[in-house]
């Protein structure tokens, strides 16, 4: 009896009809009501849509790369990385991010898959946090955004070095935690072993199963994150925070909070950071380093991928390490 009560209910023909009716109703109501006539709703829809249209292709690329790792990279390859001397593992994982020029949404499924495939979880997390900050596209966009300013050579190397150090710090704090302590089990993972390996067609089947599952798994959390981030962007005036730009430490915290709220892509955030001229270079660095590691849409993605305690740890470590690092940069470079 208890077994029946807890068994997940399967979709039936009735479910399919209900889904079709719901979708048709949404379409008709949206067309009739035309919510874009309401100013705030129009702004919300544009920002929400743009976050999705830009981030989803990167999630797709991430799911594609993750499926390649899962199916075509031999298990031994990743285990070999684990045999590197321990002090070298985390820096090597962080530097591997240079070769992965996609934004933060794409690095989450890859890190998850790397950890599942046997890479030391702390190294996978270091890679996940470093890739969106260290990759060449992001460094180039930071250079373009600050070109012509006296702070150029504080911002570009500062972002690279601080991003590198913060990612390593996060991996170091995680230490020797196992993948079971780190990862939430994804609903479909338990069934993946049923695909027979060795035959090419079975490999491709497994590839497409992983590709599709990772896309669906990450996509739903991206949707949740974009919903929250778009609401914040719609209603939060950028000017509300600029009055406290000159206050030491508070300015750093405000810029980190702003980065988390705005949930910008790491490939474009430098242009927005550069526009906050009321804040000094160290506060702008705090925005550029912590934003691609912890923001509203990423927290939703992390929440779906990792266990709750881990998400809390990563938020605290990234915030603390960024704060300390940018304070030092503020002391040295003013």
């Amino acid at each position: 009896m208890a077994d029946i009560a807890t068994r997940p209910r399967t979709a039936t023909l009735r479910t399919a009809v209900a889904v079709a009716v719901a979708l048709a109703s949404v379409s008709v109501l949206a067309r009739l009501a035309d919510p874009s006539r309401v100013e705030w709703l129009r702004a919300y829809m544009v920002i929400f849509g743009s976050l999705l249209v830009q981030a989803l292709p990167f999630v797709t690329l991430g799911a594609f790369a993750a499926a390649l790792v899962e199916v075509f990279v031999p298990i031994g390859t990743l285990e070999k990385l684990g045999r590197l001397p321990r002090p070298l593992q985390l820096p090597a994982a962080a530097l591997a991010g240079i070769a992965f020029p996609i934004c933060e949404c794409g690095s989450v499924p890859v890190a998850r898959r790397l950890a599942q495939r046997g890479l030391m979880p702390s190294a996978a997390i270091t890679f996940m946090l470093a890739a969106p900050v260290l990759n060449p596209v992001v460094i180039a966009s930071t250079y373009v955004a600050y070109r012509g300013r006296s702070t150029l050579w504080t911002m570009v190397p500062g972002r690279f070095l601080l991003g590198f150090l913060v990612a390593i710090a996060a991996g170091w704090v995680l230490g020797a935690r196992s993948k079971e302590e780190l990862l939430k089990p994804a609903p479909k993972d338990a069934h993946e072993h049923t695909v027979e390996l060795g035959r090419p067609e079975a490999r491709w089947r497994k590839f497409f199963v992983h590709f599709g599952n990772d896309f669906l798994f990450m996509g739903r959390f991206l949707l949740l994150g974009a919903t929250v981030a778009a609401a914040i962007q719609t209603f939060l005036p950028a000017s509300v925070l600029t009055g406290i730009g000159g206050t030491p430490v508070v300015g750093l915290l405000v810029m980190m909070a702003l980065a988390a709220a705005l949930s910008l892509c790491s490939e474009s955030d430098a242009f927005v950071a550069a526009s906050f001229v009321q804040f000094g270079p160290s506060a702008q660095l705090a925005f550029l380093v912590s934003g691609p590691m912890v923001d509203a849409k990423l927290i939703a993605l992390y929440g779906g991928t990792f266990r709750r305690g881990f998400v809390r740890t990563i938020v605290i470590v990234v915030a603390a390490a960024t704060l300390v690092g940018t304070m030092w940069i503020g002391v040295i470079f003013g």
Binding site: T10, R42, Q54, F276
Partner: protein, 220 residues
């Protein structure tokens, strides 16, 4: 689900609606996503035949339904852009590194040149040298509580990757017939510019209503 999202990206690509969400620097993601998702959908279809199929849970079905809703809304509703509502919530455009000072000092002045010139002292000096030059700018009408009746703010958003990172480029337009243009209406303003520090004023010799451009956002 993969096919639905693939369809959205094909729709954005073929209808040109990607310009309402992305800049020209990042619109390459649309064909990439359309292609990859189509391959994924076809791959799942071709490899779908298994000995024992796994039933879809009802909860999963409803989650997938929720994931389809944004696709429907983008396809069903007419395309919209950010307007006046967001103008006072966005940061100003900072384009010092994007537009060389030489481009501001000589040649045709664009909205991006003018906005970039307002960012740095060198840009301000270059803009000041253009005082009296005639410009022609397209943007939408913005009015704040303190905007006089015979003035308007001509606004354009500048995006680097997507609309979520939009910053504003703005000039003050004087010599406007009071009540002639509604907020959010797209207009083309022609007239000489007079940069005053970080503010640029255009003394309108002509203002005409125009259609919203196919690419409503400028790219930095």
């Amino acid at each position: 689900m993969l096919a639905v999202w693939a369809a959205l990206f094909w729709f954005l690509l073929l209808s040109g609606r990607d310009a309402f969400y992305l800049s020209t620097r990042t619109d390459w993601v649309v064909p990439v996503a359309a292609g990859l998702l189509s391959v994924a959908a076809l791959g799942r279809l071709v490899t779908a035949r298994v000995a024992a199929s796994e039933p879809l849970r009802r909860r999963e079905a409803w989650i997938m339904t929720l994931m389809v809703v944004p696709v429907l809304l983008v396809m069903v509703l007419p395309p919209v852009t950010l307007g006046t509502f967001s103008a006072d919530k966005r940061a100003g455009f900072a384009g010092a590194g994007i537009v060389p000072t030489g481009d501001i000092a000589e040649g045709e002045l664009t909205f991006v040149d003018i906005a970039a010139g307002q960012t740095t002292p060198e840009g301000e000096r270059a803009l000041a040298g253009r005082a009296g030059d005639t410009v022609s700018l397209i943007g939408f009408v913005t009015r704040y509580a303190d905007t006089p009746a015979d003035e308007l703010m001509l606004t354009r958003y500048v995006v680097s990757c997507c609309v979520a990172d939009a910053t504003i480029a703005q000039v003050r337009v004087v010599n406007v017939t009071p009540g002639a243009f509604a907020v959010d209406e797209w207009v083309e303003v022609t007239g000489p510019i007079y940069p005053l520090g970080r503010e640029v004023i255009v003394s309108a010799s002509a203002i005409v209503a125009v259609e919203r451009p196919d690419r409503p956002y400028l790219t930095a």
